[in-house]
């Protein structure tokens, strides 16, 4: 066992790899949600997907402004620090190598918030079950208006079956709803590809290597925030169309029952 393996086994730190794209509409919301986690032993490895000193300073300010229980433990990883010219997969690979925690998760800043009990539920489950991966539920919130004060129009629950076949079709719990215990991964390589399907491919490999612990699937741990007018807006518009249709069908149903 290497010194690094021993250090990992003996700690209960959760490393959160936070991807920050050039357009992260609600960065502050994500970092605030991380600062108020019930699981307090958290370090951030912040992957900057855009370059520039000003951008890095802005992200650092957003981290440090939060009311962390103790001084925030974080480091920024700039595109120029990764091999491969700052490509997304290479950056994530570098971030995982930098992460000191036994437990690991990944999320997109500005688009995801984590519920206070979220990480405590998943890490607690891993400690109890001795499995390598725990997965929880995720919500999608449809938000109108600016970051920090947007109006949540509605929320959808994504509920898992609780089977390794979750990856069939489009049934995919986002990576932010997973926590990994790195000491139990065996020879699994924590690496990410560069394709648009990289997240899905990563989860497929992970599920094949180690069946996730689904006992926390009913616990909503995080929320994806879809905003009108920013990236993800197409999803938002599609979802809103779905709601209008659903609401219309409900009204028709209610009318029929009343008749």
């Amino acid at each position: 066992m290497t010194r690094r393996d021993t250090a990992l086994r003996d700690n209960k730190t959760l490393s959160v790899v936070v991807r920050v794209g050039a357009s992260a509409p609600a960065l502050d919301e994500t970092f605030f949600s991380l600062a108020i986690q019930d699981w307090r032993d958290v370090e951030l490895v912040v992957v900057l997907e855009a370059g520039g000193e000003e951008f890095a300073r802005g992200v650092a300010r957003a981290v440090e402004a939060q009311p962390w229980p103790d001084a925030p433990r974080y480091r920024l990883l700039r595109p120029e620090e990764a091999e491969g010219g700052g490509r997304r997969g290479a950056l994530l690979g570098r971030a995982v190598a930098e992460a000191a925690g036994r437990f690991l998760t990944v999320l997109d800043a500005g688009r995801v918030v984590v519920y206070q009990h979220g990480y405590a539920a998943l890490v607690g489950q891993l400690l109890e079950s001795g499995r390598a991966v725990a997965v929880g539920g995720c919500r999608s919130a449809h938000v109108r208006g600016g970051p920090g004060r947007g109006f949540v129009v509605t929320k959808d629950d994504f509920t898992l079956w609780g089977s390794p076949l979750e990856l069939l079709g489009k049934r995919l719990a986002p990576v932010c709803a997973h926590v990994i215990d790195r000491t139990r991964l065996g020879g699994f390589e924590l690496s990410f590809g560069e394709s648009a399907r990289a997240e899905r491919d990563f989860l497929a490999r992970l599920y094949a290597a180690s069946e996730p612990d689904f006992s926390t699937r009913g616990v909503f741990v995080c929320e994806r925030r879809l905003r009108a007018g920013v990236a993800g807006g197409i999803l938002y518009a599609a979802a809103r169309g779905g709601y209008r249709l659903k609401a219309r069908l409900r009204r028709v149903g209610a009318g029929l029952r009343g008749a």
Binding site: E29, A35, A65, P67, W68, P69, Y115, R149, K155, V219
Partner: protein, 282 residues
């Protein structure tokens, strides 16, 4: 009515926290967040913290926020203890607003600033912070920010409203006293608003209720329905109290206390949406 008053002389902001065996780390993070939020407010308003312990003596670290502790009087319930804090804070003429703060929450750095700005625009209004990342699913008007009721987790009560309506009804031991206060405020012509930019980190719906929470909620629901004449709701809740084994039969349910004096307009009460007490967004 209250909203026509000006913000002039808005004065000091007093924060009130009722503790019940909260751990020191939790209170330290809350205090740290209050300190950061008070810094954002700057010279616009002095911020002071009032604390009373309903359980064991709470431990607070030293901070830049002035802290006043009231003599504990035992576990008298949330509303009663909060009323003691409010009375002490408003006894000081320089206090313009009081903010109820749950001890298990954490303020966003802009929380106080956003609440004060909202209060300056609507000086007499009862104003709730937005709980985060979860928020209550109850509706509010996107344009006017009016909402049927405001949560007591982080709730701003201006002096004018306090003097006209009073504090919480002490007949609620715990839970739903905020809904009652909101309905009393609306009955008296005050607005009840959400400050969407004022984020208050606090668990809303993520944790399953314990038997104690269930008991307090149902007992409070029964009294709320009695007070606001929600007869069908009261019958339903009494049925639940028996079904859950909390009481053997209706005959064993405790006598309901007489609501205190005040203006109760039953038309503002909403018993059509179960324990949400408002239409919901999702």
């Amino acid at each position: 009515m209250g909203d026509s008053e000006t913000a002039a002389g808005a004065g000091r902001l007093a924060l009130g926290v009722v503790t019940f065996n909260n751990d020191a780390a939790q209170l330290a993070q809350l205090l740290r967040s209050v300190e950061l939020a008070a810094r954002e407010v700057g010279a616009r308003s002095a911020v002071e913290l009032y604390v009373i312990d309903n359980g064991a003596e709470s431990v607070w670290p030293a901070s830049g926020v002035a802290l006043r502790r009231l003599q504990p009087v035992g576990n008298v319930g949330f509303g009663h203890a909060m009323n003691l804090l409010m009375a002490a804070a408003f006894a000081d003429d320089s206090t313009g607003r009081f903010l109820c703060v749950n001890p298990d929450g954490v303020m966003h750095p802009r929380c106080l600033d956003e609440l004060l700005r909202a209060s300056e625009l609507s000086p007499g209004a009862l104003i709730e912070a937005r709980q985060f990342p979860e928020e209550h699913m109850k509706s509010y008007d996107e344009a006017t920010l009016e909402t049927p009721w405001a949560s007591g987790a982080c709730l701003l009560i201006p002096r004018a409203l306090y003097e006209a309506v009073g504090g919480f009804d002490v007949n609620f031991f715990m839970y739903l006293e905020d809904i009652d206060l909101s309905w009393r405020a609306r009955s008296a012509g005050f607005k009840v608003l959400v400050a969407p930019g004022a984020l208050f980190g606090h668990p809303v719906l993520g944790r399953a209720p314990s038997p104690a929470v269930e008991r307090f909620t149902l007992t409070s629901g029964r009294y709320l329905a009695f007070k606001w004449k929600g007869e069908r709701f009261r019958e339903w809740v009494e049925g639940l109290l028996i079904e859950r084994g909390l009481f053997a039969s209706r005959a064993e349910l405790p006598a309901l206390p007489e609501p205190g004096a005040g203006r109760f307009d039953p038309s503002v009460a909403d018993f059509e949406h179960g324990f949400d007490f408002a239409p919901v967004r999702w």
